[in-house]
């Protein structure tokens, strides 16, 4: 196939992303592709041990090496503790290291090899401290403390802290003890989920350059404004002197949320008066960020009536917070919500602990706490269904939340489509049809919030009739930012291609929370429509003058403004733009008020971080057919039915891509992806050979169904979020399928060896 033989491009009605040509030609620049004249290379010296007191730290040899420009330690930066929920972290270790990937020193040198040699030449002497390696043991009285000084840390109000318990959350409603006592059947279950990783294919990179007293930082972050805040807080700078720019971002999945290494590199650049670039290796990408998907231990107790009505549900869970509290401060309550699930259970008690250990810090990875909690709960409910002798899907239909119904925390729902999701997903894979005896279909339901947040967009239309959307939103690959062009164009009767996106620059655009919480379209879409609406009003006024008609009668459509009912007599929007260019410019800003949180009734929340009731909740059902090789425990996923109520789907191609990618990630979480720690608290599989992502050869057939119904309090055009929700239920559905063939596996990931051991009863 020679390039010359390329057929003529065919017009496609499908969504083609604005950043697509950059990405397919190799011309798009990611952070590691940038270089600046005089740029130095940064390397970190990591603790390498999980828990120790620093007895001696000597950087003199490293500093005096030829080609080394700076070696920084805690002594060289402001003594600031930071953290969004608990201020328990410093840029560089002070006195104590608490996980193997903790940074002790940072080096800037003429090239990466020199920087690495200097980092290796730093002398550190440790006094070993006992390694807190087990979540449950860490909660015992008498456990060694990860933070001796925990009680002195500043923390957000809802944090309920006690020694290694970074926070806990309790949600109660009704009388669970009485309900369990009165139930016809009570089932108990314990499940353990190992941690795992976001593992974006781009390892992160940061470039920083000072000009005068201002620093510009190019970084592979999902949340440029958060990154900026972190730099400001830790280096003592006002936001007006810190500009964060994100070149193309090579995926994140939550792993690049939060503030990470921007301040270290900025500090190196300031100390050396040179631009400095940090590029992570894959191993560093595994070990150093405070964004691992958290391991969780669950204990469930659920009571039901003979007819399958669940009357009481109790869960205790403990989350591996790792050594520091990143954005994990909301995980306890969020995990509790997912361990309760989208069920109408009147009597509940959920108790969740976020527990310090000497592991890599946990943090938001795609639907944090949800896939593993859904896996545990849905495994447990299949065991309940078996005990009741009821079909598991029927059990879910009977108890699932529904329109007008009330969820476990007392939130009453408007129009929701969970029951439709169950129908669609099970139908997609032929649930109930006979299968070979080594195959089975498992089903699980899940849910995930939409997040309301402030967000802003500027829109302008220039004299030639083309325009720019200048947004604080961050594109991490999902296409959510790309979709803004269509939203704006639709408001203005223009074409998406008329607009350029200017994005990922904190000094150019208004605030947005970033590519986190599936919130981009929900909030930034609202802002973009608001901004476009102002331009539309301006265009209508100009057109009304030209066409001698009432403003309210002007319709913007197909690149023209015309009077309603007489589309032929109109004026090109480009002509109006040209007119505006000589007068009042077409410039607008939009934000819009985020919807307010729904109320809950009857539930008592301790450690309430505000996630016990959800705006525009999303619902899903995944039904998965698997084949199990009983002799080896190897599981192959054959067919997935994924049905989602994520509100209106604005960009179907992008939405399908989110589901397909999330399902494959879910298969990895289910079968092959799990962090393995040794007894000393080291990750044993910090590389892509031993931490196995699913390959193209492993991807199953996936049937996707979107349940699109009118949703109260949704985002633009009735959209909810989407990118995280399809990651919730896959592993759970796989678990329930495996259990039917070879028994219940109570640890995630359900590796071949674990499946085999379950099957042989070992």
């Amino acid at each position: 196939m020679s390039p010359a033989a390329a057929p003529a491009p065919t017009a496609s009605p499908r969504f083609v992303r604005a950043d697509g040509p950059d990405k397919v030609t190799g011309s798009g620049r990611y952070t590691a592709d940038l270089t600046l004249t005089g740029c130095l290379a940064a390397k970190f010296r990591y603790a390498g041990v999980a828990h120790a007191r620093i007895r001696r730290l000597d950087v003199s040899a490293a500093r005096s090496m030829p080609g080394v420009f700076a070696v920084l330690t805690a002594d060289d930066v402001p003594d600031v503790r930071y953290g969004p929920f608990v201020k328990d972290r410093t840029l560089f270790a002070r006195d104590v290291v608490r996980f193997e990937g903790e940074i002790i020193a940072a080096v800037a040198a003429v090239d990466a090899a020199t920087a690495q040699r200097a980092a290796d030449a730093i002398v550190v002497e440790f006094e070993a401290l006992p390694v807190v390696n087990d979540i449950e043991a860490a909660l015992q009285t008498g456990s060694p403390l990860v933070h001796e000084g925990w009680s002195g840390y500043e923390a957000a109000d809802p944090m309920v802290r006690d020694r290694n318990d970074a926070t806990s959350s309790t949600i109660t409603r009704g009388d669970v003890d009485a309900a369990l006592a009165a139930a016809d059947i009570v089932v108990k279950g314990r499940y353990v989920a190992d941690g795992c990783h976001a593992a974006p294919i781009e390892p992160r990179s940061v470039v920083a350059q000072w000009e005068g007293n201002k620093v510009t930082i190019w970084t592979s972050t999902q949340v440029p404004f958060d990154a900026r805040s972190g730099v400001c807080e830790t280096l003592g700078l006002p936001a007006s002197r810190v500009r964060v720019i994100v070149p193309h971002l090579g995926g994140g999945f939550g792993g690049k949320c939060g503030f990470h290494f921007e301040a270290h590199v900025a500090a190196l650049a300031r100390a050396t008066r040179r631009p400095v670039r940090l590029v992570f290796s894959r191993r560093e990408e595994f070990l150093a960020p405070d964004r691992r998907r958290e391991g969780i231990v669950y204990e469930f107790e659920t009571g039901a009536l003979r007819d399958g009505t669940i009357v009481g549900h109790r869960v205790w869970l403990a989350i591996d917070n790792g050594a520091y509290t990143s954005d994990s401060g909301f995980f306890a309550q969020m995990a509790a919500m997912h361990a309760l699930g989208p069920y109408q259970v009147p009597n509940i008690r959920a108790e969740a602990h976020l527990v310090y250990t000497n592991h890599q810090p946990s943090g938001s990875v795609r639907a944090p706490t949800a896939p593993q909690s859904c896996w545990a709960l849905e495994s447990h409910l299949d065991e309940l269904a078996n005990a009741l002798g009821i079909d598991p899907v029927e059990l879910r239909r009977r108890n699932a939340v529904r329109t007008g119904g009330t969820g476990p925390t007392g939130q009453t729902y408007g129009e929701i489509g969970l029951l439709d999701c169950i129908d669609a997903a099970t139908a997609a894979v032929g649930y109930g049809q006979p299968l070979p005896d080594d195959e089975a279909i498992g089903v699980a339901v899940g849910w995930w919030p939409s997040f309301a947040a402030p967000s802003g967009v500027f829109v302008k239309v220039d004299g030639d009739g083309s325009g720019q959307i200048i947004t604080g939103a961050q594109e991490c690959g999902t296409g959510a930012v790309m979709t803004l062009r269509q939203l704006v164009a639709d408001e203005l009767g223009m074409a998406a291609d008329d607009f350029e996106l200017v994005y990922q620059d904190t000094s150019a655009a208004p605030y947005d929370m970033g590519a986190t919480g599936s919130q981009t379209l929900f909030n930034n879409g609202r802002a973009a429509i608001a901004a476009a609406g102002q331009i539309a009003d301006q265009l209508r006024r100009l057109a009304a003058d030209r066409l001698e008609a009432a403003v309210d009668d002007i319709v913007l459509e197909g690149g023209r403004a015309s009077v309603r009912g007489t589309p032929s007599a109109g004026v090109a929007i480009a002509d109006l733009a040209a007119e505006a260019a000589g007068g009042e410019l077409l410039i607008a800003h939009g934000s819009g008020l985020p919807p307010s949180a729904p109320v809950i009734e009857g539930a008592t929340c301790i450690g309430d971080v505000g996630v016990a009731a959800w705006i525009a909740p999303q619902f899903s059902c995944h039904a998965v057919r698997v084949k199990v090789d009983r002799e080896t425990g190897v599981v192959r996923v054959l067919h997935v039915g994924a049905a989602h109520d994520s509100g209106t789907i604005i960009n179907p191609v992008g939405a399908e891509g989110q589901v397909q990618g999330a399902v494959l990630m879910g298969i990895g979480q289910a079968l092959t992806e799990g962090t393995v720690y040794d007894e000393a608290g080291h990750q044993r599989n910090a590389g892509l050979l031993e931490y196995k992502l699913q390959t193209c050869a492993d991807a199953p057939e996936i049937d996707i169904h979107f349940v699109q119904i009118p949703t109260p309090d949704a985002g633009p055009r009735g959209a909810k979020g989407l990118a995280e929700a399809p990651n919730v239920a896959t592993a759970a559905a796989i678990a329930n399928a495996i259990a039917k063939v070879s028994g219940r596996v109570r640890q995630l990931p359900m590796t071949a060896e674990r499946v085999w051991r379950t099957g042989v009863g070992a």
Binding site: M1, A6, P21, T25, R29, I201, G251, G661
Partner: protein
Amino acid sequence: MSDRLDITLRVNGTEYPVSVEMHRNLLSVIRTEVGLTGTKEGCDDCECGACMVLVDGQPVNSCSYLAAQAQGREVTTVEGLMPTDGLHPLQRNILDEGGVQCGYCTPGMLVSASALLARCPSPTDEDIRIGLSGNLCRCTGYAKIIAAVQRTAAEG
């Protein structure tokens, strides 16, 4: 003895005389001395395929191939796939099908796909899955990438 070698690399039809350390991998020389950054580093370990290039038409993980080994051979990167006046059919189809999200695996994926279609112009679904199995993608679940290769093959 110096550990530097003066070698000439031929990349996308252009010759680049470069002076590199003997142990430098082809990836870093392409990205630094040659100055083409479309080829990405994802793992430096032959595990992810983001660094895939063609050497004499065959796919090679450039992270684990010495630059010195490429002397006298024709290296093709993603930048060399496209005709001067537009996109290679694979590039166009992967966009049309929605097979690009973050884009970081895309260059390597396109290189592997072009090698696959060169040796197997009418691949089965399984041929495509195995042919692209050395290229990890975390975003797409591969479905739309497979569709793009199928479509390109169907267009001939």
